[in-house]
Symmetry: C2
Subunit: 123 residues, 2 copies
Amino acid sequence: MSFREHLEQVCRDVDGAIACSLMGVDGIEVDTHLSGRAGEDEAVDLKSLLVEYSAVFRSAREAAAAHEAGGVAEVAISTDKVTAVARQVSPEYFMIVALRPDGNLGKARFLLRVTAPKLGSEL
Amino acid sequence: MSFREHLEQVCRDVDGAIACSLMGVDGIEVDTHLSGRAGEDEAVDLKSLLVEYSAVFRSAREAAAAHEAGGVAEVAISTDKVTAVARQVSPEYFMIVALRPDGNLGKARFLLRVTAPKLGSEL
């Protein structure tokens, strides 16, 4: 399975998923699968939001490292319009799933936990 | 119930909770309840980690605002040693619960959702 297919599968299997991306911790997107459920009415420029969130992921990682709290495994950010959950894939990359606020966050977290090591082995 | 009692109750009711804080978004702690379960072996300076995470919360808020994703309701950060989940209480304050990685994150999220409005009405 290519990493693009992994991104697609996560989108397909999580109720309410809008997008799944593989990103560098520097904020540069490697690839993104959009589920097609991201309607115009969402009024959210999802891709640029995910880029912005990569900076949040990076600062969480730096905060945890500075306080010896260990590596950051996961960061989840919920707003009124979108929930995003990110998981470390390798020291340089992470995966992020964006879902509607009523989406299945538990399933998203589970699938990220299962998929991240598979993606990591393909990079 | 004073806001200190709310912090205590969240700690008491969440399996694996180590601390619950009320913080300003500027990173200044208003009050923290430590559950006593935070042993020396944790090797994590929890309070300063939570201060650091307030900067993460702030940057998530700025990212969401810049991209019209709505207000940030919740941010959760999981590391190898500690999981922290923060929820907005008012524009100036948020609550944060730190728990062991095996703690009950779902219960923590639920109690924050229920408790944050109560705390907000007392500030």
